[in-house]
């Protein structure tokens, strides 16, 4: 006779994901999503005023929570983290519905969507690939918002080369931190 806990663990074991065991039960998943949203928003607020030596060069540690949610929970949880953390961080920084918020929103949701698609297309893809692709699409989406809202010609896209090089280290940092987080959480 299986206990309810064993049934939930067995149910969770059939789902794709990583970790010692997946979070079973609606309440547990909801609670973990809320923790990830709060952590991601806090990281985004804390990271925002840090000095940058190159334009767009920041670790993007809030994406750790999105990637963690994608691997440990689901694609919808990852998208929830991306949507909610940008809104909460914008509320704290007083930039809700400003162009800066729209850039952040477009970048975070595009990154979550791209990592989800990449994981579906290449289930064996490593964390670094998922994360670098997410960082790159994040930058790309932000550039698209700037192009749509501000630019009158296409010369803004000449920054793409630098943005790709910047996405590589930040993506690798996010991948390594996510890997450690997965390793250290049950």
């Amino acid at each position: 006779m299986m206990t309810e806990q064993q049934q939930l663990q067995q149910q969770a074991a059939g789902r794709p994901g990583y970790g010692g065991h997946l979070v079973a039960g609606t309440t547990g998943r909801l609670a973990l999503t809320a923790v990830l949203v709060a952590s991601a928003a806090a990281l985004q607020v804390v990271e925002s005023p840090l000095p940058r030596f190159l334009p767009w060069l920041k670790p993007g540690l809030a994406n750790v929570m999105t990637l963690y949610a994608l691997l440990r929970l689901s694609a919808s949880a990852a998208m929830s983290v991306a949507v909610l953390r940008t809104a909460i961080a914008a509320l704290f920084m007083g930039s809700l519905l400003s162009p800066v918020y729209l850039m952040s929103f477009a970048g975070a949701t595009s990154a979550a969507a791209s990592m989800t698609i990449l994981r579906r297309l290449f289930p064996a893809a490593g964390l670094a690939t998922l994360s670098v692709a997410g960082a790159l699409v994040n930058n790309f989406a932000q550039l698209a918002v700037v192009q749509f809202m501000f630019a009158s010609n296409m010369s803004i896209w000449l920054h793409l080369a630098l943005m790709i090089w910047v996405a590589l280290p930040s993506g690798l940092i996010v991948a390594k931190v996510t890997q450690e987080l997965l390793r250290r959480t049950p």
Partner: protein, 132 residues
């Protein structure tokens, strides 16, 4: 400790995707260098997206930096000795526009401050400055 974690690099797909990204980056870099060639004289269009919006047209490099006022405060646009342009300072919080440095081809955009600096490579203007 949980040992059931995905690796950073799992297989050949990872390297193929990363190499494709590097190839795109090199192509973009080549495009940037190609567009940077040519006779840039320091001419640029500066748009300030406040209410009402303003537009300034400079037909060549200016000896003195120009200060403009955007949404969050003042910003200073400067021309270098090689006629390249940069946003020297801005009152925006992130300073991304300042960190973008000198340019003679790609636009400089300060999103929080609503300032757009667009270099004009084909210099057909014969005026010093126009504002509206």
């Amino acid at each position: 400790m949980n040992d059931n974690v995905p690796p950073l690099f799992a297989g050949k797909h990872d390297w193929q995707i990363l190499l494709a990204l590097l190839a795109v980056s090199l192509l973009a870099w080549a495009g940037h260098n190609y567009s940077s060639r040519g006779g840039f004289s320091g001419a640029c269009r500066v748009r300030i997206l406040t209410e009402p919006s303003q537009e300034m047209l400079f037909s060549g490099s200016q000896a003195q930096p120009v200060e403009v006022r955007g949404r969050t405060g003042p910003a200073v646009i400067e021309w270098g000795s090689d006629k390249k342009i940069r946003i020297r300072s801005s009152s925006c919080p992130c300073k991304t526009c300042v960190n973008m440095g000198w340019t003679d081809s790609s636009s400089l955009i300060c999103v929080p401050n609503g300032i757009v600096v667009e270099p004009i490579v084909d210099d057909g203007q014969q005026v010093d400055a126009v504002t509206r």
